[in-house]
Symmetry: C2
Subunit: 206 residues, 2 copies
Amino acid sequence: MSKELSTEEKIREAAKNVFIAKGFDGCTSREIAKAAGMNVALVNYYFCSKKQLFKLVFEAVLEDFMLSTIEVFRKDLSLESKMRIFIEREFEFLTSHPDIPRFILSELSRGDKCEFDHAGILDKIASTGVFEELLEAQEKGVIRKIDLTNIMLLIMSNCHYPFMAKPLMKYLNNLSEEQYQERLMLQKQYVTEMLIGYLFNPKTNS
Amino acid sequence: MSKELSTEEKIREAAKNVFIAKGFDGCTSREIAKAAGMNVALVNYYFCSKKQLFKLVFEAVLEDFMLSTIEVFRKDLSLESKMRIFIEREFEFLTSHPDIPRFILSELSRGDKCEFDHAGILDKIASTGVFEELLEAQEKGVIRKIDLTNIMLLIMSNCHYPFMAKPLMKYLNNLSEEQYQERLMLQKQYVTEMLIGYLFNPKTNS
DNA sequence: AACAATTTTAAACAAGCGTTTAAATTAATT
DNA sequence: AATTAATTTAAACGCTTGTTTAAAATTGTT
């Protein structure tokens, strides 16, 4: 635990936590400064404005979120193994960062905050070769012929939503935190089986 | 289009739209009043405070959202047919109200706004007999033996998330509104097939 | 028509917002 | 050690926030 973070880094780190927890509209510059143990004016000294600080934080979080688990597709494994490991790691990442999907979708949905620079993300995903691999597998009849957007949606739906819906599910079903974590680990298995079963070996299904 | 709404109803209606679009933190009392064509003071005259108005709106939206499509389980159809029709109507409802899932999950995740009264919702869902029907189907081996919480999660993930993720998916994949609507309609089919295939006839799968 | 109750309005309130300023402090350079 | 630059601070700026007030306008009642 090296406490050797610069003032700028401390503010950026605190801002990330506060923004993710409360959203851009739900927090104040003073709250961020206090969380970083700093004076309010320092936020603008280093980042010009709350808006600009948010833009920096959001872009970093989005990139980290989209790229953290995609690396598995560079490995030399079968597509099915990659898919299983990808889902495994996606659940692992979200267990540590359960608020990030909601944060990203919420802030993106009111996009007038600032224009986000996402240019590189899809390119970096593409650089793993995952898209070519999927298309090739479709032509070989290994996986179902579905638009990649829909495949992404199927996988992301089943990985992200269980974490986003935690307050609702705990509330409706009166579950403790531990109980919900149990359901999450079960959900990971079900989701993996279901997605693999649906996407792969399409000849036996349709 | 009867414009015969009372002042109170006009404010409630405007508040619903503004809250759903911008969130509790993202809008002001004056904005709601203007959207209703009313004076600011009238908001507090009829609803005491912004917080209380929000609580009323949120509870109504949540109840409407959770109950709008569950009625199909009262019908006299096979469980599989009910499931298909349920998903169909869920997508239909969300096509008209695409922002509601994100609204509910966002506002619930920072629950200190006010305590929400949800007591009746699960009871009303239970009154359709859907839970008994599912448990019975599980004992008969018709559907996979999975905790109801996980079944709910599977269905809700695949119905809600595609609408919540619209800004992200349009952005990442450079899709027009029309193109995304196309994917949504395809997604409905895929989700239906996948869920039915996974949940039903479990003997042939595991 | 006169009165009372309800509804609507404009104006104001203190408190908090993002941001700026200018002075105080620390660090770097000569 | 003296001087300059960079950092940090406390205080203030104008503005918006949620809410309240008290008067005006409308409606209902006798």
